[in-house]
Symmetry: C2
Subunit: 462 residues, 2 copies
């Protein structure tokens, strides 16, 4: 498969232009003002899959935005790879922090990306990474090197919680049957430190409401005598961690996997500079659970973070009010074996129990998902590792991510197959933030690596 | 002075009509869209003072809205009463919660006000209560019963913090020289339980900002490893009270006056139903400092309340963000002898000291004011009490209020005179809230009681 380099060299300009055209469509699934753009993007993906060589491509309607499904079945006896990706993007807000308009892609060189990076919303998450698979597929088809069957499932609601994907998957198990699922929607450690994400954290996300008096009160006339819902909420939130930053919810850690010393020392070998980490974030110190390193805290350990809090007067100046209500959005990242629905219930029971009698508490679950692990002795993992070795000249580091992709656990449950999270982006690519970008080098490295995975995976399965 | 009843009976309709005309002008000092209305109201007050019998009335310009000053000096050797009030009002928001438009006054009967209450913004706070003094003065002038000199100082910026009053008072000490200051801008316990406010709490109001990482972070990738400013802020706020709800700021209680058991048992005689209190607020329990009753907690004890809190994602649905910053507005109600500037400094030092190294903290003082006490053996207090006894047939209860009127301490400092807080409104009159009102009975009871104060005060000073 030496000719992948040659094919890339011949088609570089076109591969970039096609991605740039895709990035120009503001497919913001969270904002209905852009619904026609989201639909237009699904059509663009359909066309791209057809042009790349799919035999059939369908726009599959859902209760929300459609899922684009394409396939090329060369022999039912050969293995099947299912590629998942998404064509919708995060809102670009705050737009004024972008150095160039989010939907007018530009390529700029940076110290991290000396060959240039494409700046646009969706450049990395996930249009750019999804499109690597389309172009790798094109190469295999056009050069008669496709070694197995391929299915594409590209959705348009990932950034709004994949609302209709579960229904679609459950209703189309036959159509989606596969031997491995391939997703590029994560990152790697560095361009010279390739890595494959082998674990994801689960998630339980709740909203809490604390109600004190039935109306806002004057803090002079009532202050000190009536429970202030903000003070109470602060105390309740504070009590959810102990002095070692362990979470205090009874039963919370019961199912948490304890990694062996050996596994932890393997993990500790990943290159990491605490000084760089602190400098990048401009913090004087890190903060977290006692007894664990920074890389353990954000990957193999569960967490509890307040993602939003509000109550009382938040405008300019001063208002002396005791509000009737205070609110918070709280999410817990979970590790494999913790069940998100069970944890949500434990949280709810505990939070209601610790409320003083002087307030009322309401806990509303938002959503959640299970954690996930790919064992590194799995065939697909080994095939992926070998592909990276071929193109990067280095064995990839297996890496547990702190993030959550609930659909990965869903795929395993419904389709009974493992997922390989083959991400080529970097943590510094600013996904979900202003000035999102994706290295041109990374884009082409993905296109180069993917066909080797198909080759090795098919060989190993034979 | 029996003829006050007669005079009231003859002029009832006119007294109500004049107040209603004043209430129709939306003198909202906080909103510049109403600046002409605020100025129009100052002119209406000038005319009212002239008509009532002042010898000279001036519109005194300030850097903000003007102060209306009027006087009638009958004999420099006689005592002088200075009446303070304000002609500006709070914004009526939320307007949709009003049952009738806030600037179209209507009179409606209620269970608490069987003789009717005037519903309008400013009806009680403070146009209605200020106008009682104008009409009581009119009665004394027109019936040749004014026993002493009178000065009026009616400002237009009370609801925005009396921004220019301090400068005016400091620059006009001679003009404002007096023997006692009379203010009706507070309430009494009930129509059958007259009370006089003898104490006010001081106030220190600050805003705090907690900064963690230099940008919003993905809570999956960083959660557990980086200090979350909301969690940290919650912990810092929670730590400001101990398990007995004592405030933990070192030195905070150093100057707090300890009331004698006798004083506390006097206070405890004020009629109070904890059940009614809880039912009115729809709370299952009260909450406050251990060792003190509800009425003590909100009057003779200092407090610390969060008046507003915000940070992270507060919109609909869920966003998994660790925000860069979290904020809170915190106010402390202080008791006499606590110096608000000293307390503000103690808070700032403490809050900065308890911050973990993983965050940065900024404390910005907003404003504050000193507490105040009128001793009940003061001549003016005794004259006021006797006036209430005459018109209510009952000795008024001396009452410490939990609220703050910083100008009262300012008056004492600059003008060296005590203030009598002769309020005729009720706690249930909904000042600063939708459907503010003022009992017609209360309005007339104020006009009836005030002349007796002038009489008794002049006699006692003789």
């Amino acid at each position: 498969m030496q000719n992948i380099q040659e094919y890339l060299a011949q088609n570089k300009g076109r591969f970039l232009d096609e991605l740039i055209d895709l990035l120009k469509i503001p497919s913001i699934s969270a904002d209905t003002a852009f619904s026609q753009d989201v639909l237009d993007t699904s059509e663009a993906v359909r066309t791209a899959l057809e042009n790349a060589g799919c035999d059939t491509v369908e726009i599959c309607e859902t209760d929300g935005y459609p899922i684009v499904y394409g396939e090329k079945i060369i022999d039912p006896d050969l293995p099947t790879v299912l590629v998942y990706g998404h064509y919708d993007v995060q809102p670009p807000d705050p737009v004024d922090l972008w150095n160039s308009p989010p939907f007018e892609p530009v390529i700029k060189e940076t110290p991290t990306h000396p060959e240039g990076a494409i700046y646009a919303r969706g450049a990395c998450d996930d249009k750019g990474q999804m499109y690597m698979h389309v172009k790798a597929f094109e190469f295999m088809v056009k050069t008669d090197q496709l070694p197995c069957n391929v299915k594409f499932m590209i959705e348009g609601e990932e950034e709004v919680g994949s609302r209709n994907l579960g229904t679609f998957v459950a209703a189309n198990k036959e159509k989606l049957a596969n031997d491995v699922i391939l997703i590029s929607d994560t990152g790697m450690i560095a361009n010279d430190v390739p890595s494959i994400t082998t674990g994801l954290r689960g998630l339980s996300y709740v909203e809490v409401e604390v109600t004190g008096p039935n109306r806002d009160l004057h803090s002079g006339l009532y202050g000190g005598a009536v429970a202030n819902p903000i003070n109470v909420l602060a105390q309740m939130i504070a009590s959810l961690h102990d002095e070692n930053n362990h979470i205090t919810i009874p039963g919370f850690y019961d199912k948490v996997e304890d990694l062996s010393e050996q596994e932890r020392s393997e993990m500790a070998k990943a290159p990491f500079s605490l000084e760089n980490y602190k400098n990048t974030l401009e913090i004087d110190d890190v903060y977290g659970e006692k007894g664990y390193s920074t890389n353990e805290r954000n990957s193999i350990r569960p967490t509890l973070d307040v993602n939003g809090i509000w109550g009382g007067y938040t405008g300019e100046g001063a208002k002396t009010v005791i509000p009737s209500k205070a609110f918070a959005k709280i999410s817990m990242r979970l590790v494999p074996h913790q069940d998100w629905e069970e944890i949500t219930q434990l949280f709810k029971d505990h939070f209601e129990r610790i409320a003083p009698k002087s307030v009322k508490v309401k806990v509303t679950p938002h959503h959640g998902g299970q954690g996930y692990v790919t064992p590194i002795d799995n065939v697909a993992y080994r095939a992926a590792a070998k592909a990276y070795e071929t193109t990067f000249g280095k064995t990839p580091v297996p890496q547990r991510s702190g993030g959550s992709i609930p659909i990965v656990a869903l795929f395993e449950k419904e389709l009974k197959s493992k997922t390989i999270l083959m991400g080529f982006g970097l943590d510094s690519d600013a996904i979900h933030s202003p000035n999102e970008h994706f290295g041109v080098w990374n884009y082409f490295k993905g296109i180069e690596t993917i066909p080797y995975f198909y080759r090795y995976f098919t060989d190993m399965k034979a």
